[in-house]
């Protein structure tokens, strides 16, 4: 008990406690019906539209209906869990919980959000073509490869932000 109290008093301990609290609150808010209906679903549709725009750059006749991304060659539905929000939440909560100025946090949140968005569009486009050319690999690629990569990306972005912006002042 004493060791735990000692750990919680350190910057690392405070960060862990803050991170778990912010993360729990974040996921709780995302699970609420009004948030799901008014934020998560429209955001998922936005991801589908971004992906359709990217696919059109490659000559696909991609259209979006709700959260369904379709072309004459393949269709894929983007659900909660595939929209990148979890990675964004892992990263943003890590940024918010870390001791830094709000200006640096804001910089990190905007930069990380954009990076994860771009990564997620690459993921959806890649899965779309996997579905067309290697449909037997779709499920493994969808869950095993891309979901793992998205978690690792969130951690790497957080490490990079902390390293470059948040703790930089301590080394000066």
């Amino acid at each position: 008990m004493g060791a735990w109290k000692g750990f919680v008093a350190t910057p690392a301990g405070k960060f862990i406690v803050r991170y778990v609290i912010v993360l729990s609150v974040g996921f709780f808010i995302l699970a609420l019906h009004p948030v799901n209906d008014n934020v998560v679903n429209p955001y998922t549709t936005f991801v589908a539209r971004e992906s359709a725009a990217a696919l059109r750059l490659f000559g696909e006749h991609a259209t979006v209906t709700g959260q369904m991304l379709s072309s004459p060659r393949f269709s894929v539905a983007i659900y909660n869990g595939c929209n990148g929000l979890e990675a964004i939440l892992i990263f943003v909560c890590g940024v918010v919980a870390f001791p830094a100025t709000w200006r640096r946090r804001l910089l990190g949140i905007v930069g990380g959000f954009v990076a994860i968005q771009v990564f997620n569009v690459v993921r959806v486009v890649s899965l779309f073509y996997t579905g067309i050319y290697r449909p037997q690999w779709f499920n493994v690629s969808h869950v095993f490869i891309w979901q793992s990569l998205v978690i690792i990306l969130a951690v790497v972005l957080w490490l990079a932000w902390v390293h470059r912006y948040a703790v930089a002042r301590a080394d000066r």
Partner: protein, 195 residues
């Protein structure tokens, strides 16, 4: 600017991460052949511990779990749960761990075993809540007669919690828990003074 020493250690870590991810993926592919049936068997055992009659059936088929009940007709419905969606987080966890220099040194293997046990327990619980939700929501009149609205809400919330928040965040939290000093020294948090 961050100190050159800290920059080097972070760069080394990030350089090791892609290789570690590949090794982690190979380990996952190698173990899932016996891990999936074991996961189904343990979850079935846990589900039956507190149910009367003990009728939950969870069987492993290819990379899926088939969930049903032995006290209902054979054609009353089975749920197919892709086990990859439950246990894929072993890959990012192992990748983060294996990218740490000398990951088993200094007694870290003990914490690593505990962390793996926690990850396995989270897989068992995730599959358990899937099976409870199947029984509570998907078996028509039997579900409505057997489970209250409160039970359905609790199982639904637990399923969401283990399907998304736990699955996605546990690898990161366990990695930090196994190597607190090394992770915080990697990012430089050990250099900040206690507020």
């Amino acid at each position: 600017m961050p100190s050159p020493e800290r920059t080097d250690s972070l760069r080394r870590y990030l350089r090791r991460l892609p290789v570690a991810a590949i090794v982690a993926a190979v380990v996952w592919v190698a173990v899932r052949g016996f891990y999936n049936p074991a996961l189904c068997a343990v979850t079935q055992f846990v589900a039956r511990v507190y149910e009367v009659p003990a009728a939950t059936l969870i069987m492993s088929k290819d990379s899926d779990a088939l969930v049903g009940r032995s006290d209902l007709r054979a054609d009353s419905g089975w749920l197919k749960v892709p086990l990859t969606e439950i246990n894929f987080n072993l890959v990012p966890f192992l990748a983060l761990v294996l990218a740490v220099p000398r990951p088993f040194a200094g007694g870290a293997w003990r914490r690593l075993l505990w962390a793996l046990a926690a990850l396995v327990a989270s897989h068992v619980l995730a599959l358990l809540w899937e099976s409870k939700c199947f029984a509570a929501f998907s078996l028509g009149a039997w579900s409505r007669a057997t489970y209250s609205d409160l039970a359905r809400n609790v199982y639904g919330a637990l399923r969401y919690f283990f399907e998304i928040p736990v699955t996605f965040t546990l690898p990161l939290l366990l990695w930090v828990w196994v190597y607190p000093e090394r992770v915080f020294s990697l990012v430089g948090l050990d250099r900040l003074k206690t507020a």
